[in-house]
């Protein structure tokens, strides 16, 4: 297990970065220290490093590909010390990735700091309307856990869940939004992309003009749970449906395998509402890497997103995703799946089988 001393230093560092501060040198030193410890204490990582001979100069150690979370317990603590285990969403025929925690305090600290800066930068609480299951309904969903904490940290006592028992509660949604309009009280509408699509389909001709200061946070993909909508179209739909300006519609990027989240930087700087880069918290290093060398790509070339998350203290902090990304002003531009990655005709769509990107959702 990671030493208490290192954990305390990381916690302090996260606090230092809470308001958007950066100190890359300290961050990188902490990442190197934590990774080295985990390379000895986390068995699948140790085993992976034995097989993977490449040692990227910039990072020192290669990151652990996310798929490993589906096939092995990636934890530095024994099973009996688990206080929570988050699981990736399940698609047909594939094992679900698992991320076990013996302590959620650093997760909470990171989630609160990131959201406090990039999603709720203004002081004060808002009513939250959540289009995702509560943590009681989905105890193994990291998204549900995070949203429940958001209610504690940023929500008013009138916050509601408009997604229950696996379906949209249209009455709850419309009543809540109409009440916000009537009271001119800003509201935060938070949920999964597919839940927003269900709402879009169910709301018909209903339109809202949510009060100034309202915001929308959407996350995750569609995973066959709804029709798929391109990000630009989704943005336009949400704006048209709820009357929230596009610089107050924020995409969250989170993964079950991580403890920190990234957000589109639109609330930090409205100038970012065109390019919509992902803001990277100070305790996280996000770099597109060349899959052949595992080194960072040059300039704004496209690479596979590697994320080093200091809050991932009980598993591995260096995680290799399959998401394509570029560096850009303000952070990282996420490109999703490669445009050339066409369906393999009659061959199984392995993308689905191997996909382990986003939060568990519902």
């Amino acid at each position: 297990m990671t030493s208490d001393l290192l954990a305390a230093r990381i916690a302090r560092f996260i606090d230092r970065c809470a308001h958007g501060a950066k100190d890359d040198a300290t961050r990188d030193a902490l990442i190197a220290e934590l990774s080295l410890e985990q390379s000895k204490s986390v068995e699948p990582y140790r085993r992976y490093l034995t097989s993977e001979k490449r040692r990227p100069e910039v990072f020192g150690l290669p990151a652990l590909p996310t798929d490993v979370f589906r096939f092995a317990r990636v934890a530095s603590h024994p099973l009996h010390m688990d206080v929570r285990c988050f699981r990736t969403s399940g698609t047909t025929g594939r094992a679900r990735g698992e991320h076990a925690f013996s302590d959620l305090s650093l997760y909470d600290r990171a989630a609160r700091s990131a959201a406090g800066h990039a999603l709720f930068p203004e002081a004060g609480r808002q009513r939250l309307c959540i289009l995702a299951p509560s943590e009681h309904e989905a105890p193994d969903s990291s998204l549900s856990y995070m949203l429940s904490r958001f209610v504690d940290w940023f929500g008013t006592e009138h916050s509601v869940y408009a997604w229950r028992d696996g379906e949209l509660r249209l009455g709850v949604l419309t009543d809540t939004l109409r009440a916000a309009e009537a009271r001119r009280e800003p509201i935060a509408l938070l949920g999964t992309s597919f839940a927003f699509v269900h709402a879009e389909d169910a709301l018909g001709s209903l339109r809202f003009q949510l009060p100034h200061g309202s915001r929308i946070m959407q996350t995750g993909g569609f995973k066959g749970r709804s029709r798929t909508i391109e990000p630009e179209s989704m943005l336009a739909l949400l704006h048209a449906r709820y009357g929230v300006p596009v610089d107050h519609i924020v995409q969250e990027y989170g993964m079950t395998e991580l403890s920190s989240q990234m957000y589109e930087a639109v609330l930090l700087d409205p100038a970012h509402s065109i390019e919509r880069p992902l803001w990277v918290p100070g305790w996280v290093r996000a770099e597109p890497v060349d899959p052949a060398t595992l080194e960072p790509v040059k300039g704004d070339a496209t690479g596979l997103l590697r994320i080093d998350d200091l809050a991932n203290i009980g598993s591995v902090c260096s995680v290799q995703t399959s998401d394509l990304a570029q560096r850009c002003a303000g952070g990282i531009r996420l490109l999703g799946r490669a445009p050339g990655a066409v369906a393999r005709g009659c061959s199984l769509q392995i993308e689905e089988w191997l996909d382990s990107r986003a939060h568990a959702g519902a």
Partner: protein, 420 residues
């Protein structure tokens, strides 16, 4: 997204085919002769159509030229007289002349040989919709048919539109009598929905005679496996020969097809054990194949998938990575491959138990072993899935008249009026 001109082109093509179908007779001998002549034209690398086809295939598929050449050779040579004639003889003389839509996939270009030739053989007129990724083969096949026999070529129209083009999709689904769909299960389902959804409306609004909804002949998701019986590993020399055949099945089309093995299941008890067979594949057989049939350059997306697959392999078992391929030796449960010559080897004492989770999608099992062992495996496989079996080394070059998706080759492609 919507392109009315595409939909109009589809409607016009179907109308022309239907008009030609009404006046055509059943002349399978002429169709067979034209198919064979077209195959010869495309096989001859000096023919302008064939030269252009090879150039286009390289650009569209990214496959290496030797791989494309091998694919063309093995698939076009399957259009032999005997199987074509035997199949044609099974078609009733009074089968109505229909218009059949064929939706082609983009993964393995040679699938279009069978996809187009089968319905033409039944006497149908065919409208083929190519995939966004690859359309060169169907276009060249149409051109070669034109050169071979103008009348037979007039029975085939080749169109392209994207899957998002709802109007063109609807035009195709409402215009044909049957739709043979190669692609993902999602594609099959999408088209099935369109067929069911649009038929009544089309009948009302376009004042056409309401026909039955088109029959869907689905060739959806699929994957395959290789099985190595211990007799195929009776000596080190025999094991090397077996590994060569398995390596060909893996390497063909860079493992992108539904007939590509995702797993190699090895019966213990031979001269080398399953783990040693994995090493043999990785160190000798696959590198040799990579010399003969070089692998395509992987895209970033493919590299991402391989990185993930290999990492899981490394923690599940032993992994042998080379520049052109990777082989793992793992324990059950089986894990599908991302393709691109990445394959897992498993010790196998109970084939059915291992493959059962994939039964719904299994297309083929290539068997290395004696004829009796192959027969026994065929018997066993038939008990739990509709996969075909074949000899190892022949998974990617099936006979033209082989069954597919658990059905005879012409299933669904014609209506048997006499039987009704």
């Amino acid at each position: 997204m919507l392109a009315p001109e595409q939909a109009e082109a589809v409607r016009a093509a179907i109308a022309a085919l239907r008009s030609a179908a009404a006046g055509s007779g059943n002349d399978p001998a002429r169709v067979i002769a034209a198919l064979q002549k077209a195959a010869l034209i495309l096989s001859d690398a000096r023919e302008p159509i064939a030269i252009e086809l090879r150039r286009a295939l390289q650009q569209e598929t990214g496959l290496s030229m030797p791989m494309i050449e091998w694919g063309l050779l093995t698939s076009l040579s399957s259009l032999r007289h005997a199987p074509l004639t035997e199949l044609a003889d099974t078609i009733p003389r009074d089968a109505p002349r229909e218009v059949i839509g064929v939706v082609l996939a983009g993964n393995v270009f040679v699938a279009a040989v069978r996809g187009l030739a089968m319905p033409l053989l039944t006497g149908a007129h065919v409208i083929a919709k190519t995939s966004t990724r690859e359309g060169a083969f169907a276009r060249a096949f149409r051109e070669a048919l034109e050169q071979a026999d103008h009348t037979v070529a007039a029975r085939l129209a080749v169109v392209h539109f994207t899957r998002e083009d709802e109007q063109a999709t609807r035009a195709l689904c409402t215009g044909v009598d049957a739709l043979s769909v190669y692609g993902s299960d999602e594609t099959v389902e999408q088209l099935r929905r369109v067929c069911e959804d649009t038929r009544p409306r089309a009948a009302l609004t376009e004042r056409i005679t309401a026909r039955r909804p088109p029959r869907i002949i689905a060739h959806g998701h699929g994957l395959s496996a290789a099985y190595v019986a211990r007799s195929a590993l009776s000596s080190k020399e025999e094991a090397a020969r077996t590994a060569e055949r398995v390596a060909l099945d893996i390497s063909a089309y860079d493992q992108q097809g539904c007939l590509s093995p995702h797993f190699v299941l090895v019966e213990p008890g031979g001269a080398i054990d399953p783990h040693a067979f994995a090493q043999l594949l990785a160190a000798e057989a696959l590198p040799a194949l990579a010399q003969l049939l070089p692998a395509a350059e992987p895209t970033l997306h493919e590299q991402a998938e391989r990185l993930q697959w290999q990492a899981a392999a490394a923690i599940r078992g032993e992994l042998y990575v080379h520049a052109t391929h990777a082989v793992s030796f793992e324990e059950a449960p089986l894990r599908p491959s991302p393709g691109g010559r990445q394959v897992s080897v498993y010790a196998c004492t109970n084939l059915q138990e291992l493959l059962a989770p994939f039964a719904l999608h299994l297309k083929c099992i290539g068997v290395a072993g004696t004829k009796a062992e192959r027969a026994a495996i065929t018997d066993l496989v038939q008990r739990f899935c509709s996969a075909q079996t074949c000899r190892s080394g022949e998974m990617q070059s099936p006979r033209f008249d082989a069954w597919a998706d658990g059905a005879p080759p012409l299933a669904g492609l014609f209506r048997n009026e006499s039987a009704r």
